[in-house]
Structure formats: C-alpha cells, structure tokens
Symmetry: C2
Amino acid sequence: MEDRTELSALGEFGLIERLNKDNKTQNESTVVSIGDDAAVLDYKDKQILVSTDAMAEGIHFDMVYTPLKHLGYKAAVSNFSDIYSMNGRPKQITIALSVSNRYSVEALEELYSGIRLACEKYGVDIIGGDTTSSASGMVISITVLGEGEKDKITRRSTAKENDLICVSGDLGAAYAGLLVLQREKATWKANPDMQPDLDSYDYVLERQLKPEAQKWLIDFFEKNGIVPTSMIDISDGLASEILHICNDSGVGCEIYMERLPIDYQTSRTLEEFQIPAETGALNGGEDYELLFTIDQKDYEKIKNNADIHIIGYIKDKNSGCKLVTPQNSTIDIKAQGWNHYNDM
Amino acid sequence: MEDRTELSALGEFGLIERLNKDNKTQNESTVVSIGDDAAVLDYKDKQILVSTDAMAEGIHFDMVYTPLKHLGYKAAVSNFSDIYSMNGRPKQITIALSVSNRYSVEALEELYSGIRLACEKYGVDIIGGDTTSSASGMVISITVLGEGEKDKITRRSTAKENDLICVSGDLGAAYAGLLVLQREKATWKANPDMQPDLDSYDYVLERQLKPEAQKWLIDFFEKNGIVPTSMIDISDGLASEILHICNDSGVGCEIYMERLPIDYQTSRTLEEFQIPAETGALNGGEDYELLFTIDQKDYEKIKNNADIHIIGYIKDKNSGCKLVTPQNSTIDIKAQGWNHYNDM
C-alpha cells in the first residue's frame, strides 16, 4: 500500500463519511440509509430477519494471510448466510468496526471495498455503522437485516421424523484452506525468503478466504415450491449443526458417512495433514453451506440437482444422533465446535 | 466479586446461553428471539428504524470508575436514544460483545444485568448477539431496531426557517460528571488510600454513568399531536448537533446563550474546573437529551412544559449558525466534537 492516511487525520465523522462516500442503495425497502440517527426501512407485509455476528483479529482471522478486501467480503457473506439459512433474503447491513490506529484509512477503505463488493453481488444495502478505535487489533461486527415470508421462514427447530437431511455444495474445504494458510505462515516465519506455492490449493484457499453464501439454493426452493422443514447454515461444522437441528427439533438422525460431499482437492489436502476427509467435513467450520431437511414428498424435486446431497434422514429422538460408517457401524455424533476462549 | 468463572470454561455457546438464560420478550413485534440463525420480527404497517453504536474500553469508558452494570445500562440507553431522536420507539436490540479473557463470566453477567435493566425499563427485547474474544479490552456494539410511523418519523434534514429550536432537560451534566471522575482517578492513582467524597456530585455523576433516554418526550409529542420538524439526540454536544441539523436542512440558526438549560450542580462543578458552564453545555457530550425544531404554530403546546427549553430559532442559510451572547454579540457556532483517534 503506497498511501497511508492516519485515522486521526480524519476523525470519527470524517472517517465514516469517507468510507461511505460512494454508498448507493438498491432495495426498495431501504427508505433512509446512512446519514441520520437511524436508518428507516419499510418491509411492508414481509417479516424482518435480524442477525449479528462479530469477527475478531487473532481469533477469526489472521492479518498475516488475510487480504483486507477478502476479509470484508467474508464478514459480509457470513452474515448473509444467516438470513439465507432462515429461507430469507438479506437486504441491509450495519457495520460496527473497532480498529486500532495501527490501521490506516486506506486499509479500512480496502476492507470496505470487500464489504461493498459482497453487498453489490448479493443485493444488500449498507445502511449504517459506527467506527471506533480499539486498544489493539480489529473487530468487525455486522448486523444483517433480511426479509422473509411468514409461512416460508425456516427454523432449526421444526425437523420431523422421516424427513430427508440434505446439504448444499461440499464440506471441509474452508478448514483445509485454513490448514494450508497456517502451514505457510509457519514456513514463512522460519524462512522469510521462501515463496509459497499455493497453485494446487486454489479451491480450498478460496473457500477459506472468500466464501460465498447459498443464495442459489433459496432461489431454487422458491422456483420449485419447496419449503424446507428446517434449515441452518454450516459455520461451526456439520456435526455441530445437525445436533442443533436435532436437539431443537426434539428428534434424532442418521447420517451416512459415505454420503458426505467432499471435493477432491479438500480430501487430498486434508490427507497431507493426516486428517481423514470425513473428520474435516464433519468438524471443519466456515463452509457456509446450508444444512436442511425436507419432507420426503419433495424428494423428486431435488433428486436431480447435483449441488444438493441427501446425507441421511431424521429419526425419532430415542434413536439418538448417529453417524453410519461404510462398514455399517454407528458412531454417536459429537460436536467439536470452536471454543475461542480456549485458544488464548 | 467473589466468584470468578473463566470464559474458557463455558466456551462461546455456553457463554451466550448463560448470558441469555432469563431472557424474556415483551413486544408483539418480536416473533422469534434468540436461538436461531436470525431473529424474526413483524412490524406490520410500521416502518423500521435501525441504528448501530459501539463503545470501546479506554475510549468511551474507563473500567477504573465505570461499574459494569452501569456500563451495560448506558450502552443500551445511548442506543435507544437514536431511535427516540427519529420520533420512534426502540423495540429490539442485538449485542455484539468483544472481550478479552481478563473478564470473567460473572463480570459479563453484571454487564448484561445492566443492559437487561435498561431493556425492561424502556420496553425493549434482546433478540440476538454474538460474543467473541478480543486481544485486549472490551468493545460493546449494539444494534437497535425500533418502530416509527411513516408520516411521523423525524429526520435531521427537515428544519425550516422560523422554526423554534428546542432542547429537552439540561446540558453539560454528563461532561461535568466525567471531569469529576477523571479527577478522582488521578487523585486515587497518587494516593490509593484516599476515599473519594462524591456526595455533592450525585447528579452529574449519574448523568455520566447512568444516563436516561428521553422516552417521555416522544410520549409528550404523541399525546399533544406534535411532530417536530427535525430532531437529533445530543451525544456529541449541542454545538455539533445543531450544525448537523442546519447543514443537513440547508438553513442557519440563532441560539441564545442565556437560554441554554444548565443545572446548578453542573455549572458549579464546571466552575471548579474553570470551564464556563455554556462551554460545557455546548461542547460536552453524552447528554442524550433531544434537540428538535418545531413549527411556530406548536408553540402553545410546549410553552408550559418545564423540561422543554426554547433556545433559538432557525434562520435562512445565509445567516449562518450563530450563538448570541447576553451582550448581544454573535459568535459562529463551531463543533468541537470528539476525535477518538487523536487521543491514542
């Protein structure tokens, strides 16, 4: 980066103004955007979906290998994913940015350019935010608002026995990408002159650094008249998410290990780290795919879509939550999840 | 505090669960609260007001003299104020908390108890949030949602020539309270055995540590059929806020110095610090009073309310923004504002 403008040179108002100077809105529901004490929205007969997620430097991202533009893109997209997972559509976000003066104005503009790119792609308006200095590091907290139709909003607590369990896309890639980045960081620390060769990891790296949300699936549901019986996005790993659905719905499940969708590059990469591909698929976070259940009557509607994978089915509560191996033995599904506070 | 449970002992999900265990909602518009990927709201024919504000340790608050419960209360109330300033009513908040593991679970519960107290008092539901660890310190970022009626939402850009400029309550007290706290901190650092005597500063300290938002004024407007022509809340000081109204509305103003409402304890305290009371009233932040303009036809409706003060009137743009002294000379109003990044 050539230019460096100190944050103190602009002040809080100047900074907010500069970050938002080209802000345009594209949704009819955005009546008033940035520039007053509050934004004004009109959702007419639609219901409002709201979710807040924060990402912290050193916990959710490492500046050594995270380009700021990608970071902004990912922060936005991971929030959109929370709205899609309710079978809704993200429409607006507010951004609360907490940064130390180690960052320049240009760095924050780079971050914002990533957020703006994601917003343009997914049809979302930036309607407000706050920027404050922090003692150290960066925390990006985004609140997303979206619209849903009353009888189509999909909870995680409404799966029923015999429903099919489906997942979009493929799993474990973002985790595989993270492992590669961490290895490269360690290598680079040991020998700063070494140039990393990352060509053969392009897919897993992109999944880690610049993930996408599954808007296409919500479009597909709408077009085909499908309302999933439950849905959740996969941010903490499939195992953790299916347990959320089962616990909240009061049901059990069977997941077939050999049905887990895993990309070839993902399994090859995980192999390098001596991690079974299925473990990465079950416990790796940040895939932002959607895990959902549908009534069996909708089977015909989804069976030919190559990006929807039926991985199991919902059972009664007493059956527990089981993983079925190719050898037909069963294992209790346990959530690994992420415990940020343990790593500090 | 006797008990100390480490954040790592609970993990992220456990912590969120514990902080929200007694969470009850009281608004009809809250359809689904905490516990899914997103909350679900239904505002029916009302418009939605949205605002996000962040408070950072070391910038907006100092743990040495800020009780955690008060901090939570203030963080919530300052956000509610943004909705009242649009002539709306706050209904829901989401909380993004970023904390280092220096804080215990009990400390965060104390913070939450203050947020919850404010929510109960103002009729607001906690509908979501995220808790993440930070490298150091604490950042509390709150997004507030509120409802407003389409033809009654009050912007800062709609003041007209000849409107009366009014302010609720009194000004400068929160700033006076801050000065007292900073002085006590310095004294205590020099001599830790010294017990502070703060009895005679009760009002200014409360205004700094546990401010209130002006719900009563919105009730008063509704009851008396008043729609202000413009409104803003006073978080950065009267001077800064009146300039926002004038600049955004394309008008000028005259403010009469002797009309500025200042409590006796405020002026006495500011005097100790050799600060003219009017300077404190004009440039001191965090009062969370409301600054608004009304059409002169509404004068009769407000003239007998002791908590509403007419401090000037709106003029044409070419007249500029002037402060009129008791000696009838005029001074250009300039915003001091706060520049957080300069202080680091």
